[in-house]
Symmetry: C2
């Protein structure tokens, strides 16, 4: 059954196309927009158009940035360590590391992982751009360390292995973030694979 | 912590203003829009503008309709019983009744309920428009029955009572939808108020 207004029905359908938004939620959102001042709907509509028109990938680290801010603010910051590059899968991962406030190096966003089953090869993600950075085209300070911070999945491990091999000739230190017990977790509820990795990666106290 | 793109950040903030959408969901939606073809974002943006520009209230039943479809399709339908008007709070309630496929009369949407605590009086909702319809200005067939189908809350009951009193001089039959046990419910889990109403409203079998 449809609303008596085609405009409402169209908006509901468009909202329902978004991930995790069902028909009921879409109806609620459309009704909210309908009762809100016009400026609210215009701001959201403007932001939707802007994201498609303004967002590009940083020419250095490949993270998302605005057309008028390339290289991105992390790459152009003078306060960060340019000798370390942390390799991540997506812009959301950069956000996660930035939230910690601990890491002060640079990033490189691959925008995907090597996944032969899905037909994604090394040339489909931004690995070549990483090699170019190490080749010294952009960087003024030589890169000393590449930290691989990819998800602990089959695709993540495959990509890590592939990049590690590619970086060998550069003579750069390649590291991987630690796998182990999350802070605050209880040992008895941790899965076997994580526990084994934690034991392997034990360090002196 | 913010994304490295102001355009992405703005869209996340706009999404997060919608009801039931938190910062995490807003991020997921923004990332979806970023990776989607441009046409998808444009369709959603267009629908948002359209709903504010095209949607009006039907001059007869006050339900939402498009600017180029007034009276709405229910009011202008020739196949519906014009002698019965069902009074509801919101357009969503019309939708709920239409879904049943049983009710074939007209509707009247109040767009709210009398609620003195919230400062909403009878003149703030579309009661006068209901009286105008009964006065016969729009209707060609005389109205014989007004069915009150408002939510069983204090505000709903107050509004029902108010309308019932107003309609007395018109000599029209005023009815209320039945309160009782929902279909499929188990008696032992029904609250006392509903059970009392169900007992009061018992009918011969």
């Amino acid at each position: 059954m449809r609303y008596t207004s085609a405009a409402i029905e169209t908006l509901i359908e468009e909202f329902a196309k978004l991930p995790g938004i069902g028909r009921k939620t879409a109806q609620r959102l459309a009704m909210h927009i309908l009762h809100e001042p016009k400026s609210g709907a215009e701001r959201l509509a403007g932001a939707l158009i802007d994201i498609k028109e303004k967002v590009i990938r940083c020419s250095v680290c490949q993270n998302v940035t605005d057309r008028d801010a390339d290289p991105c603010y992390i790459c152009s910051s003078t306060g960060r360590d340019r000798s370390v590059i942390c390799v991540v899968e997506s812009p959301a991962d950069v956000l996660a590391f930035e939230k910690t406030g601990h890491y002060k190096g640079q990033y490189h966003v691959l925008h995907g992982l090597v996944s032969p089953l899905d037909g994604i090869g090394p040339d489909d993600i931004r690995i070549n751009e990483l090699l170019a950075r190490l080749g010294g085209r952009h960087e003024t300070v030589p890169v000393k360390e590449v930290v691989l911070a990819l998800n602990p999945t089959v695709e993540g491990e495959t990509t890590s292995l592939y990049i590690t091999r590619l970086l060998k000739p550069f003579g750069i230190s390649v590291t991987k973030i630690a796998r182990g017990i999350p802070v605050g977790a209880e040992l008895e509820f941790i899965d076997e694979a994580t526990l084994s990795r934690a034991m392997e990666g034990r360090s002196a106290v």
